[in-house]
């Protein structure tokens, strides 16, 4: 019986060893890297949505708000948050289509007028995703005299990560958020209760 020194053979003399086919390594690496990249982007997006509104103690990023025609602050038609250091800032987000906003409009205006002469408190209104004619109608209806402007591109509201309107943010003299009011104020006294301790410091 002769010994065979060739490749293993079956009894029929047929050789084994068909080439193994699969996905190339480079393709697998690309797919996994792409998948991980996608998951990272999704994770960042989810993290942002879970963040919630800005938290008390956070420093509010600087922004510039251009007012509607007819509104001025210290002679200028726009205001930059960083220029208001040393003052308490009341930042109110509203919209003409927002019914709860109407509940607090008079209270905010009254509070503004009570602090106006002191010069220590600045009220600013940002109109959120609104149309200008309706926004102006709202301002006229409630005789709002503190500076208001449209939040173009929702840039400012995204900084605050607002969930809706009305929302009002109280920023202290150092640019730090000290209070966030989600929903309308029930009375002017509530506004005073937040601001008075800040200006007495």
């Amino acid at each position: 019986m002769t010994e065979s020194n060739t490749a293993p053979v079956t009894g029929a003399g047929i050789s084994k060893g068909a080439p193994r086919r699969g996905v190339p390594i480079w393709a697998q690496i690309i797919v996994w890297v792409a998948l991980l990249g996608l998951l990272t982007i999704v994770a960042f997006g989810l993290r942002r949505t879970q963040q919630g509104t800005v938290q008390v103690g956070d420093i509010i990023p600087d922004f510039t708000l251009t007012f509607f025609d007819g509104y001025l602050f210290q002679g200028k038609s726009e205001v930059k948050l960083s220029e208001l250091r040393g003052k308490v800032v009341v930042m109110n987000f509203w919209a003409s289509w927002c019914k709860p906003c109407e509940q607090e409009a008079a209270e905010l205006e009254a509070a503004f007028r009570s602090y106006e002469k002191g010069g220590q408190v600045v009220f600013i209104g940002a109109d959120y995703v609104d149309t200008e004619p309706e926004a102006r109608g709202y301002l006229k209806k409630f005789d709002i005299t503190y500076p208001n402007g449209p939040d173009l591109g929702t840039r400012i509201s995204q900084m605050f990560r607002i969930k809706g309107v009305p929302e009002t943010y109280f920023i202290d003299q150092n640019g730090k958020l000290v209070y966030a009011q989600i929903g309308p104020f029930a009375s002017e006294a509530e506004i005073h209760a937040i601001i008075d301790p800040l200006i007495k410091k």
Binding site: V9, G11, W97, V129, T131
Partner: protein, 159 residues
């Protein structure tokens, strides 16, 4: 007769004096024209609601805004850009092709191609394998192995 002529002449002169230039009124854009633009936008407040079907008062105001812009001669692209500038790029039904937004346009076709490739390979593996033409070295077939002979006969029959 002369008096009648004078009256007619006077009335005609008065009519000419009061005549003013008349121009055809530009009709307001129709609801279909407004919705053709609104369909390409999302309600800035309600999530995932196209502006043409959004039932809220605010959406009705935005649709009227589109009508106003159309009547002022703005085209669709200008109106969409205006809305994006006012309310953010998220109001556009088609994200602008910039930054990470490119992923929205690239990933679906790539995933589709990968899926097609996977299906192709799967179908390929399901096909009946074709036996290779192999030269059978009959000298290696042990004559005395009856079992192997029977297998060989069966294989030849199947071929």
């Amino acid at each position: 007769m002369t008096r009648k002529l004078m009256i007619i002449l006077t009335v005609s002169l008065m009519a000419f004096a009061w005549a003013t230039q008349v121009s055809a009124q530009t009709p307001l854009p129709s609801d279909d024209e407004v919705n053709a633009v609104a369909r390409q936008l999302f309600c800035p407040v309600c999530e995932n609601t196209p502006l043409d079907v959004c039932p809220t008062q605010a959406c009705a105001q935005w649709r009227e805004l589109i009508r106003t812009k159309l009547s002022e001669g703005w085209n669709q692209d200008q109106i969409k850009q205006y809305f994006a500038a006012q309310y953010g790029a998220r109001v556009l039904s088609e994200p602008p092709r910039q930054g990470l937004n490119w992923l929205v346009y690239i990933i679906p076709p790539v995933l589709m191609l990968i899926g097609v490739y996977i299906l192709f390979r799967a179908f390929q593996s399901m096909r009946k394998p074709v036996l290779a033409d192999v030269e059978i070295d009959e000298s290696k077939i042990p004559d005395s192995d009856e079992y192997l002979s029977r297998i060989e006969d069966e294989l030849k029959k199947r071929n």
